[in-house]
Every structure is written in C-alpha cells, then in structure tokens.
Amino acid sequence: MRKYLLWRVLQIIPVLFLISIFVFALLYLAGDPVALMLPEDATQEQVDALRESLGLDQPFYIQYLSFVGDVIQGDFGYSYRYSQPALPIVLERLPATFELAFASMIVAVLIAVPLGILSATKRNTALDVFISGASVLGKAMPNFWLGIMLILMLAITYPFFPVSGSGSVAHLILPAITLGTGCAAEMTRVLRSSMLETLNQDYVRTAVSKGVKNFFVVYKHAFRNALIPFITITFLQVSTLVSGALITEVVFSWPGLGQLLIQAINGRDMAVVQATVFIVAFIVIVVNLMADVLYRVLDPRIQFD
C-alpha cells in the first residue's frame, strides 16, 4: 500500500510539471497587466513607469527560471490587486470553497443515492423515466440560473434562507443545492448504471436464492458493489464542483476561490490566476489520488502492492 501510494505520488510529478508549463505560459498569453491597474484615462508615462517597476520588461527565460524556482518555494509572485504574495491569498480562500464543495457533495449524494438506486430497481418504469428526465434537466440547468431562481424563491418570495454571503450554515444551503444539483445528475446516472450492472450479477442471484430480503439484496449486496464506481465518480466530481463553484460563488457572493479567480482574470492579476490554477490542479490531483486509494480500499479484489 505504501509502495503503491509512493508510486502514485511519483506519477504526479510529470503531471505537475506539465501544469506548471501551462501556468507559466498563461503569463505570456495574458499580455499586459499594467493597463488594467490604471484608471481608464491613464497616460502612457504612467503605463511605462508601472511596467518597468514590475519587471515586465525582462527577457523571457529569466522570468521563466525565476518562476520555476519561485513556485518550488511556494512563491507565485505578487498580486497586483492585493499587493500581497499570491499564494496566501489563494490559500486564504480555500476553506470557503472547501466548505461549499463539501456541502454540495453532501447534497449531491443525498439526491443521487436514493434516486440512483430507485431508478435502477424500478428500471423502465415511469419513475425511472422521470428520474432520468430530471437528471437530464439537472444537467441542462446552468448553475447561475438555478442559483438565481433559488434566491428568488427560497430567499425572497419565501424567505427561508439568507440571500447571499457566508458565515452560517443557513448561508450554505442555497449555494450547496445549486452546486450539488448539477453533480447529482451525473452521479445519479452513474449509480443507476452501476446498480443495474450489479443487480444483474450472479452474486445478487446467489443472495436471492439464499433467501436474503429484497432490501438487503439491493442495499447490501448490490449497492456495496455499485459503491465502488460510485465513490470514484463522486471524487472525480471535485473537478466539476470547482468549475461550478466558480459561478455559484459569484451568484451567492460566496467568498471562495471562484470569486477570487474571476476577479483575478478580469483584472489580469496573473500571479493570483497562476496560483489558483496550480493549487486547484494540485487539489484535484490529490483528490483523484484519494479516489484511487479509496477504490482499492473498498474493493478487496485489488491487491495493494
């Protein structure tokens, strides 16, 4: 197990290397950050002065080498917008995004597990069709639209929840539903198909022929096996969650990475953009690693070394 982990961790290195190339290239694609830092009617002298002071007139390779060196030390440079090192700014936002992602995951699981199992066991019935249809709709609803609708309905017309902001559990509910719904759609589909597959397996037939109650056949014998792909996909949803969070956070003015990133992009605050991309990618990689390990833990068939 430890060796497997070590191997997987080693595999991360080339991936991180590729990501760092991308992240560095961003700076060059991004063009000139200076213009955005000055007011609309700034003069050319102002622009030049600022550019020089930021060292943006240095040759390419010097910037590259220093970038790599810095990143290894956890230094992504200075945020123009915050006049602070970029990494702490990004790290400061992580907890809020984690909180949201975690809550959304719970929402998604709460929706997906019963629906997925139900539609698999009631295969081809009206209920199954309904659930499938609903999950398609779940995919078809853009996050921001759902978010705004939820605010209108559950925070304004019927004020059950606060409209926006952070700070309490109540604040978390609407954004978590918004974000969780999209993921739930995907997860329901996966769970349905893996349940269908396991329900058709011989060992399920064996369980029935032993006289095991229907409920246990479904929730113990079948679900336990369907859980393996389901958990994997659940973990893989982290990537989708982050994508969704970018937008959901704006709608609910949730102070997480999403808002930070969007503002950083609009403001060409490239240090923050780079740090965010890198950190998010790193987290996704780590989570995928966890998914992989969990997969192995859950499935006794897979050997550890």
Binding site: P142, W145, I265
Partner: protein
Amino acid sequence: MQTEQPVKHLRNHTTENRLANWTRRWARLLFKSKTGTIGLIITGLIFLLAIFAPVLSPYHPNVQNYAAMNVPPVWLEGGMKEHLLGTDNLGRDMLSRIIYGTQVSLLVGVCSVVVAGAIGMFFGLIAGYYGGFIDNVLMRIVDAFLAIPNVLFILVILGVLSPGLLTLIFVIGLTNWVIYARLVRGDVLSIKEREFIKAARTIGTKNPVIICKHVLPNVMPSFIVISTLSVATTIVLEASLSYLGLGVQPPTVSWGGMLSAGRDYLATSWWIATFPGLAIMITVLGIIFLGDWLRDVLDPRSQTLRS
C-alpha cells in the same frame, strides 16, 4: 455435407425491395424507442430552425422596438399578437431571437465537439493501440488537462485571449479532447484484447488498417454517445461562460447570451431568461435522447429486421 439453415429467413434482395427494406428498417428503428423518436424529432426541428432561421423568424433578432419593451408572451395579460413569446428589455422579439440563437448554440455545441472529438479520437486510438511510452506520455498530458477543472481552464484561456465564436469553439474543443482521448483509449484497450483484432493480425493486416477498420468502428458507438452528451453540455457551458462575460459576444444571438443577459429580469420579466433556458433544456434533452438512440442504431444487431 449438410448445410445449416440461416438463423433468419432470407429476404430477396432486389433493388426496390432493398430500398423498401432500408426505409422500413430505419422507420422501425426510429419508432422502436419512444425517447429516441422524441430525441430525433427535437434535434431535427432544432437543426431546421437553425438552417431556416432567416425564413422562419418573424423579425430580425436585433431589431429594437422601444414601443414594445418587456412585453410578456402572448398568453399573458399585456401580451401582443405580434410577439408570440414577448419581447426583451430592448423590445426585441423573443421568438426571433430564440430561433436565431439556435444557430450559434448548435454551432458552438457541434463544432467544439467535433474539434475535441477529432483530437481526442486520434490520440486515444494511438495511445490505446500502441501503448507503451506514447501511451504513458499522452496519459500524463491527459491527467494534467483533467487536473484543471474545465470551466477554470476555459475561463483562464478566454480571459487572456479575446473571446469570439471561433476562440470559444477552439478553446472548448481544446479543453474537452482529453475526455475523448481517455474514453477512446479505454475502449481501445478492451477492444484490442478481442480476438478479431488478433485475427486481423494473423491475416497480415497492417496496424493503421486495423485501427481504422477494426478498432475505430467499435469505438464509435460509445464515442458518439459521449459526443452527443457533450454537445448538450457545451450548450449549457456556453451559457455559463456568457454569464461570466466570456461567451459568444452580441450582437450575435446565442441562448446562453440571452439567458445570462436575461437573468437580471428573472424577477420582473421572467420570460426573457426563461425561454432561452427552456430552449436549452429541450435541446439538451433531445440531443441526449438522440444519443441513446444512435447507440442502438449503430449496433449492427439492431440493423436486422426481427420477425
């Protein structure tokens, strides 16, 4: 030597007969699955809308009418016969805009999937079939791409390039190819183990030919299903990008753009954001159903008439 009877009774293959058979087969396939029928009809209609938008829409989508701003759809109080689905905040006809929006939404959806699919298919086939070092390198690249959540990736790229229809298609394509590469590779790995590949090698078929003739057609069904799904998600993605100001830029009309521009009006003139939203949902539904149907159709098993 005794000859076996064919499993099914053989039909006479005269030319007319064949044509009739062909139509009958497709008709049968079409109506066999209800959802498939619905999907095909929806998708078909939407493509027609896109193609004939200039003919079908009552107004030019960008013609403003200050005398009729925020007019509700015709069945509501205050609705006007001239504007069946009402007008938006600038008095533009919703129906016309929805019809024209079809063009861009489909264009973005289909083209970016074609771009992504082509790249992904190519690399997936190569990596899966040849394996080894190429496979390793490609899969690390795929890992790297997958590690960056797609909206984040697109956002960052679009944030630094100037957005436009072409950029959008290209960037979405560039982001999504990894999905196909991974899917195709996985499929190829299992198809490679099937004995007919071995068989092709024993008769001396060259690798590129095996890839094209034996592997590719067998990867196609799941590829097509994922593609259709991806067309659907891309249409939604375009809406999300519009929300962030990175979608298709006006005056080009896209559903995503309409949806996101109309979000401020949800509480007051709900139709401005709701109709494009519905259009997206219906299209997505249609395309996903179509994908399911296509998977069935592409299975040669379904191409026989059953008695």
